[in-house]
């Protein structure tokens, strides 16, 4: 009773294929599983947060990419979506939430304010969240259109798919975290 599952060409990892089974390396399988079930933590502070609501709503529907279930607690979150301006008062809170996220974790910085401080080059705004936490994908725009957000999510899925299992234990990853002063 083997149903032929046709995975789209570019998402299909190399591997031995037979009647009803598909053998590939562990990294590929884990990557495929992680990529298509990213639970985002919507760290929505300002205008980009409202645009994220539009992305989550029925018209642009983020759920098509496996991110239906938003997790507001960092414990079950895979993807920290930082959306909106992060002021200096908000910095320690962002770091705390990032550190309390479960590994493996990715960070998506949505909008100009989160990525570089945007138009608010003022005394109270943190000029880009990559000063306090490592960021994987930046989405330009103020606020980015929902299509751009979906493109950012696809890029994060690309990272998750090809990351493999050993990266989070590798010394380079440890060195990068030390550079940010994160345990």
């Amino acid at each position: 009773m083997s149903i032929n599952v046709n995975i789209r060409e570019e998402f299909k990892p190399e591997g031995l294929e037979g009647a009803g089974f598909f053998a590939t390396s562990l990294d590929k399988v884990v990557g495929l599983a992680r990529a298509n079930s990213l639970w985002p933590l919507p760290f929505a502070t300002s205008c980009c947060g409202i645009e994220f609501m539009a992305t989550m709503a029925s018209h642009y529907d983020l759920a098509r990419f496996g991110s239906e279930r938003l997790s507001f607690s960092p414990r079950q979150a895979d993807l920290l979506m930082v959306m909106g301006t992060i002021s200096k008062k908000m910095g320690p809170i962002l770091r705390q939430v990032y550190e309390q996220m479960a590994e493996p974790k990715w960070v998506l910085s949505m909008g100009a304010c989160a990525s570089t401080g945007g138009i608010f080059d003022t005394y109270s705004v943190l000029q880009g969240i990559d000063r306090i936490i490592p960021v994987d994908v930046y989405i330009p725009g103020c606020p980015p259109r929902p299509e751009q957000v979906l493109d950012g999510i696809l890029k994060i899925q690309e990272l998750a798919r090809n990351e493999g299992v050993q990266r989070r234990k590798s010394p380079e990853y440890k060195a990068m975290l030390d550079q940010y002063g994160l345990q």
Partner: protein, 179 residues
């Protein structure tokens, strides 16, 4: 190049201005330093020590009843010596739709002002914001601390001498911006 535009003085605003002026001169003598009309808003510049009595009278008096504090903010005039800082109160008599603005000046060395939280409860956070931005000390304020900035901030950012930009930014060299 720009011609100064005539101040719009329609009759109702003029009449409001005169009535409030008369009321203030009679109830709180010596309070009004000067007054004029700014684009449909009568503006009264009051002497600092009488401001609180004037505001209380404007709210409680039957003829005035400015029971709604629309907004309140601090202003920094670094160039006029001896009166570098100003506080602006904007009052609104909703039933009769009468709106006036009160301004009072003070020198930069004694930025103290009695609080109006007992007159209008809405001024609690407005005064905290004025303290946060300019450093006004509101005596009698229930809980005067910074509201918008970080508590560890040492200076009052809205003063003209402080820069807008955050010092940590090093990708915006002045030469790219013709500064």
């Amino acid at each position: 190049m720009h011609q100064s535009h005539p101040q719009t003085t329609n009759a109702a605003v003029q009449q409001l201005h005169d009535s409030v002026l008369a009321f203030l001169q009679e109830n709180v003598p010596g309070a009004v330093i000067s007054s004029h009309i700014d684009y449909d808003f009568p503006l009264f510049i009051l002497e600092k020590s009488h401001t609180i009595d004037a505001l209380a009278a404007l709210k409680s008096a039957q003829s005035m009843e400015f029971s709604f504090l629309t907004t309140m903010c601090g202003i920094h005039y670094p160039e006029n010596k001896g009166a570098e800082f100003a506080l602006m109160y904007q009052l609104h008599n909703m039933p009769l739709n009468k709106r006036i603005r009160i301004k009072t000046f003070m020198a930069s060395n004694d930025l103290t002002m009695p609080t109006v939280t007992h007159i209008w409860r809405a001024s609690n956070w407005m005064e905290r914001e004025a303290f946060d931005f300019y450093g006004f000390r509101f005596s009698g304020h229930p809980d005067l601390r910074r509201i918008l900035n970080m508590d560890e901030m040492t200076y009052h950012p809205l003063r003209k001498e402080y820069p807008l930009e955050d010092a940590g930014r090093h990708d915006k060299e002045d030469k790219y911006f013709g500064r």
